[in-house]
């Protein structure tokens, strides 16, 4: 589970992007109704499987020490 969670450096990068005017737009709330929200959650759930597997299996040197 810990290897799936974002690494500290990834969170720091995210925080910097969230507070830069050029990139802050990618952090706006998505408010397209409950159906769209459920669809996003379902998509994220499905996409998480291969992406999480990749994060577990990839070499530690490419994952900020994870």
């Amino acid at each position: 589970m810990e290897r799936i969670r974002p690494a500290p450096q990834e969170i720091e990068d995210l925080a910097v992007r969230e507070t830069k005017l050029e990139t802050a737009g990618a952090f706006r709330p998505i408010c397209a109704g409950p159906v769209a929200a459920f669809a996003i959650l379902a998509f994220a759930g499905l996409a998480a499987i291969p992406l999480s597997l990749w994060r577990i299996l990839r070499p530690p040197s490419r994952t900020n020490g994870y």
Partner: protein, 528 residues
């Protein structure tokens, strides 16, 4: 002389000056006015899309607002509030692990970051804490006048949260998320919810202004609408009867019958030890630090050990299904939107008090950090959920036990004595807390708020401390406050904060700290 400038110290000093006493206040008094001034007086949504320097206050110049791994004291403070515990680890060393209190060194103490929820203790709660209900009634009214409280007397929880005649400004508006939950909330059984009183102005009052609903209340002190003890100190400094000595960390008191008491303080910049003498001393240094000073001052103690109280605290991040995918208006404040009580099984007393917060102004990266998802997906989910996030924090009452102690330890210097905490609630208390959490979780589900986790920030996580110099001390009877308000063994030294309390009700203690400090100031003035 008052020691400490938090809610207790500021309230005691204000009442003493009001009663005509020459008053000196000793304080460490760190502040960060520069970063506070740096925050434009504009709404959160606008700052997010226009201010190119927003990283300074949202995540900090050194990224101190980006949470690290493990237990980090002060992690809940936003960068502009980090000054609250500047140098605390150096000035107040803590030995051991497991209890990580937030110790304030700031002007205004922990009140500089107070969430402003204001509660009046019932007569039974006051008596259980050892405080006189009769005398406290008038002091609550004075405290409401000093702090400026808004609230709704017609709220379904008013009879529990505000059993007082004290004046209230009209209540704060609540945001879309909270309104959506309250529309469905059924007040029945043990859990009741509604608008709670807040130390936030909704009408202009002297130099302070009504809350502008900018959702920046976790960062700045916009228009001074949320009460901060600093405002009282600034007003007092205009009086010739008030003397403010900042940069002083008091570590020991000396007091003998028939002699004026003395406070020994170390200057935080130079390290020089100074002595301050007064007719009376009111100790308002925060229950933990007040206890530390007293343990370091009393001679002849068999053990430098005493009791400690701290409200257990649990929070539930939830998804409000009624707001899922829906937009929320930008006009909102950041503090508790509503709150309520968890009654005991006899529905006679209060086991827990909760508050509900919307999440928006704390930025998404902190949500992503908690998700067991790769960051790109976590961000997508956070964007879809953020308007429906509702955080419920619940505080539980605390009672004394021989397994909840703090002691002075070897290793620190005489000016900086260390503390070690033991906080192990008995098994019966742990089981009671689990049962309360289950009851509360069921109430959340009934209102269609689905908990996605349960977080226990640890035994010191509530930042509500008390009971280190209690009226009745079962751990060390030599460390106690006497019925006249003075500390046993330290004549003319009064306990002005929550250190003297025998129990800690579930209700947030801050407003009662102000009322109690006013009561103690009146005792001091009367005795003088």
């Amino acid at each position: 002389m008052v020691i400490g400038s938090g809610i207790s110290g500021a309230s005691a000093a204000h009442r003493l000056v009001e009663l005509g006493a020459e008053t000196r206040l000793l304080d460490i008094g760190y502040d960060d006015g520069a970063l506070r001034q740096r925050i434009p007086d504009e709404p959160f949504d606008q700052l997010r899309s226009t201010d190119s320097g927003q990283a300074d206050y949202f995540i900090g110049r050194n990224k101190e607002g980006v949470p690290r791994k493990g237990v980090v004291v002060g992690a809940q403070l936003t960068p502009p509030r980090q000054f609250i515990h500047k140098d605390a680890a150096k000035l107040f060393p803590i030995a051991g692990s497991g209890f990580h209190p937030l110790m304030a060194t700031s002007a205004g103490g922990l009140g500089a970051g107070w969430g402003a929820a204001s509660f009046v203790f019932s007569p039974r709660e006051l008596e259980s804490a050892g405080l006189p209900a009769g005398a406290m009634a008038g002091c609550y009214e004075r405290a409401a006048e000093l702090l400026g409280i808004s609230g709704d007397r017609a709220s379904p929880v008013s009879k529990w949260c505000w059993p007082s005649a004290a004046n209230l400004q009209p209540p704060l508006e609540i945001d879309d998320n909270a309104a959506n939950i309250l529309r469905r909330w059924k007040n029945a059984g043990r859990v009741h919810a509604g608008s709670i009183p807040m130390a936030v102005l909704t009408r202009d009052r002297r130099e302070r202004r009504a809350n502008p609903y900018f959702d920046m209340d976790f960062y700045g002190d916009s228009r001074r609408s949320v009460f901060r003890p600093r405002y009282v100190i600034e007003e007092l400094r205009k009086s010739v009867h008030f003397h403010y000595a900042a940069g002083r960390a008091v570590f020991r008191l000396h007091s003998q019958p028939g002699q004026p008491p003395r406070a020994l303080a170390v200057h935080v910049d130079t390290g020089a030890v100074e002595t301050f003498t007064a007719n009376k001393i009111v100790l308002c240094a925060n229950a933990l630090n007040s206890g530390r000073i007293v343990l370091n001052s009393l001679d002849g103690l068999a053990a430098r050990r005493t009791t400690v109280l701290c409200n257990p605290y649990t929070y539930f991040p939830t998804i409000n299904l009624g707001m899922l995918g829906r937009p929320a208006a930008g006009r909102r404040h950041s503090l508790a939107q509503f709150g309520g009580v968890l009654l005991d099984s006899a529905q006679d007393g209060i086991d827990g008090v909760f508050q509900m917060y919307s999440y928006r102004s704390l930025l998404l990266f902190k949500l992503v950090k908690e998700m067991p998802l790769p960051p790109q997906l976590g961000l997508l989910v956070a964007r879809a959920l953020v308007t429906s996030m509702a955080i419920f924090g619940i505080f539980f009452r605390d009672r004394m036990s021989e397994s909840k102690c703090m002691e002075l330890v070897e290793g620190g210097t005489p000016e900086r004595p260390g503390l070690r905490f033991t906080y192990n609630p008995p098994e019966t208390e742990k089981a009671w807390r689990r049962a309360c959490e289950s009851e509360f979780r069921a109430a959340l589900l009934r209102s269609r708020c689905v908990p996605i986790g349960k977080v226990d920030p640890g035994p010191a996580g509530s930042i509500h401390y008390a009971g280190t110099i209690p009226f009745d001390n079962p751990v060390n009877p030599g460390v106690r406050t006497l019925p006249d308000g003075t500390i046993d063994g330290l004549p003319n030294v009064y306990s002005g904060d929550s250190a003297s309390w025998n129990t800690l009700p579930a209700k947030g203690l801050s407003f009662t700290l102000a009322a109690n400090a006013i009561r103690v100031a009146e005792l001091v003035a009367r005795a003088h």
